[in-house]
């Protein structure tokens, strides 16, 4: 029998309501799994790798067992009293440690926030808790979400991929995706600024949903690039994504960018099928310009053949179920997503990181300083790791009047072009009239820990196929679509029109049904093979 912690949330909620299990039993199953696969807790101490490190998952910066047990007890008490415990009652959630949770350390994976205890709770977390979810802990991530492998966290060992812990789980929401894949949480709240939920979801064989920009409030999310940041979800299946999005989405008086668009019942038409839907394929997501994995030189090339094959197989399956596949959809500005992101995200990050000064909160250099400016320099110099420093410096450079070659306004106009690609693809009166665009999520499957980290250009290009959706603000859904020859998960992506998450999940659900009997769906991550099933 499948352990409780490996089941999807919608099944657990049903079991809970029928009295077949309790919130405490679900939580204890999850905590037992954490004990079995997690490994030593990450710290900011100088990192010396130990032999065991690359056999464990290290998904969490902090596991908040006591708080979780109180929350689970409260859910069981409400059930016993005949009260409605909420749509996510008893569901163990891992919260990416870039969301503030009142009374708990909220570190952003950075030494500069190591001592910060948040005085308030982020809106999406508050909504999860109000719906009965049980927060198990804070998931590890790239420092301030700056990365695609989770290796840049100040808290080490870095997370490992549950399918092969010598490899990265992706990033920046690497801890989130690893936790859900390994049964250390049932769902996770992450963020996606360039692909930071979709890419790790693809690497870890789980579902990743980046909603439309503005669909979910950013209040309490430690800011990286404010025009691109999106709270996003990691789940075990599409139905869970629909269940959780319904809880976290919607207007918020504390975030003026949280759209006042109505929140539909995302589960209402999940099983409506794909007959008659128009699903696009674009050659611009298969062959494009990105750095050669060996030489590092930018050149036009194709993505990994096995990933490309997974996209075509998915298209064939959907076509057989009645979808109309529209080939040759032009998305010519896809290749400019990363270069434009290098400019826009850095300018926004540099601005957002000015607040860390060693004065108001967080790390302050404890030694002698000559004056306030010296305190800033020493606190920031020691508090930030290399990734924040790179982002601040590049943000300064591309926005400084005396140096820039009008890079910033140029990047913002390129962003307009990227947006137009999507508008044209989804225009109901246009030539393509797509309901969804089907693409690979990543150019290749998970790489080894240490193989890319340190080369900030190569690392950024891991977001090649996900970042255009962030520039455009449109929703994206990454789905597991098989395993490569090395047994590593492959992800495919569905992109849709603004606020059309329900359509993406409907197509995603259909794909899940069509592939339900596929052999790869029965494969389990390597770290679970030594874990006994109860």
């Amino acid at each position: 029998m499948t352990d409780l912690c490996d089941r999807p949330a919608h099944e657990l909620v049903s079991l809970l309501h029928s009295g077949e299990t309790s919130a405490q039993a679900i939580l204890e199953s999850t905590l037992a799994r954490i004990d079995a696969v997690e490994g030593r807790p990450p710290t900011t101490a100088p990192y010396l790798e130990q032999p065991d490190d690359r056999t464990r998952v290290h998904a969490y910066i902090a596991v908040t067992r006591d708080l979780a047990r109180q929350q689970a007890q409260a859910v069981d008490d409400r059930l016993a009293a005949g009260q409605d415990p909420g749509p996510l009652a008893g569901i163990p959630v891992a919260v990416k440690d870039i969301f503030c949770v009142q009374g708990t350390p909220s570190t952003a994976g950075s030494r500069i926030l190591e001592t910060f205890v948040s005085p308030y709770t982020a809106t999406p977390v508050a909504r999860l808790e109000a719906a009965g979810a049980v927060v198990v802990g804070k998931a590890n991530l790239d420092e301030f979400a700056f990365g695609s492998s989770s290796e840049s966290s100040a808290f080490l060992p870095p997370p490992g991929n549950p399918w092969d812990p010598r490899r990265v789980p992706g990033g920046s929401s690497g801890g989130s995706a690893a936790a859900v894949a390994a049964g250390e949480a049932v769902v996770s709240l992450g963020t996606d600024t360039a692909g930071s939920v979709r890419q790790p979801a693809a690497f870890c064989g789980v579902v990743g949903l980046k909603p439309t920009y503005g669909r979910v409030s950013r209040y309490g999310l430690i800011a990286f690039a404010s025009s691109l940041d999106c709270p996003a979800l990691v789940t075990r299946d599409v139905e869970d994504a629909a269940l959780v999005l319904g809880v976290v989405a919607g207007q918020d008086a504390k975030d003026a960018t949280a759209a006042a668009a109505p929140v539909p019942d995302y589960r209402a038409r999940l099983d409506a099928g794909v007959a008659g839907l128009r699903i696009g394929l674009s050659p611009d997501y298969i062959r494009l310009r990105f750095p050669d994995p060996v030489s590092g030189e930018l050149r036009e090339q194709s993505i990994a053949p096995e990933v490309e094959a997974a996209v075509h197989e998915a298209a064939q399956a959907l076509a057989a179920a009645g979808a109309e596949i529209v080939e040759g959809v032009p998305m010519p500005n896809t290749r400019f997503g990363v270069p434009a992101y290098f400019v826009i995200s850095r300018v926004e990050a540099a601005s957002n990181l000015h607040r860390y000064d060693g004065v108001k909160y967080g790390y302050r250099f404890p030694g002698e300083v000559t004056d306030l400016k010296d305190l800033y320099r020493k606190s920031r110099g020691r508090g930030f790791g290399p990734q924040p420093k790179l982002r601040i410096l590049m943000g300064m450079y591309v926005s400084a009047e005396q140096y820039e070659k009008a890079y910033y306004p140029r990047a913002l106009r390129v962003r307009t072009r990227i947006r137009r690609d999507f508008e044209q693809a989804f225009d109901p009166a246009g030539p393509y009239r797509l309901d969804a665009l089907l693409t690979p999520t990543t150019p290749a499957t998970a790489f080894e820990i240490g193989a890319v980290y340190g080369d900030s250009v190569l690392m950024q290009y891991a977001d090649l196929l996900t970042v255009p959706g962030n520039h455009a603000g449109v929703p994206g859904l990454s789905l597991p679509a098989g395993l490569d020859r090395q047994g590593l998960p492959i992800g495919i992506q569905l992109l849709g029109a603004d606020f059309h998450e329900a359509m993406l999940m409907r197509v995603g659900r259909a794909y899940e049904s069509l592939t339900a009997s596929a052999g790869w769906r029965r494969a389990r991550p390597a770290v679970l093979q030594s874990v006994g099933s109860s």
Partner: protein
């Protein structure tokens, strides 16, 4: 291609960014920045007509989904002590900082 970000420009950026760096770290960061600029230079190959507007947010916010402004009412905040408690150095509810660089005006 010569580095766009020379050691001199880099020192200026570091000063603007208020970062104290050791030499090895500085050289690594400068090299990475110059590598990133090669990727950014891809943007120069795009022909943009003068009518292409800038996009600062991907998703448009038409009136139908634009949240209304909050009403202007006083709301007591109870977190002041929690917020102050996060400051690394305080005295009598003031945040303590070292000498602030300043110029005497005549």
């Amino acid at each position: 291609m010569p580095d766009s970000i020379t050691p001199e420009i880099f020192r200026h950026l570091v000063d603007l960014a208020a970062l104290e760096l050791d030499e090895d770290e500085a050289e690594y960061l400068r090299r990475q920045l110059n590598g990133q600029l090669k990727a950014i230079a891809e943007l120069e190959s795009i022909e943009l007509d003068s009518e292409t507007a800038v996009t600062s947010h991907g998703v448009p916010y038409p009136d139908a989904i634009r949240p209304p402004l909050r009403s202007d009412v006083v709301r007591p905040a109870h977190e002041a002590d929690d917020i102050l408690a996060q400051a690394p150095a305080t005295e009598d509810r003031y945040i303590v900082v070292p000498d602030i660089p300043h110029t005497e005006l005549e």
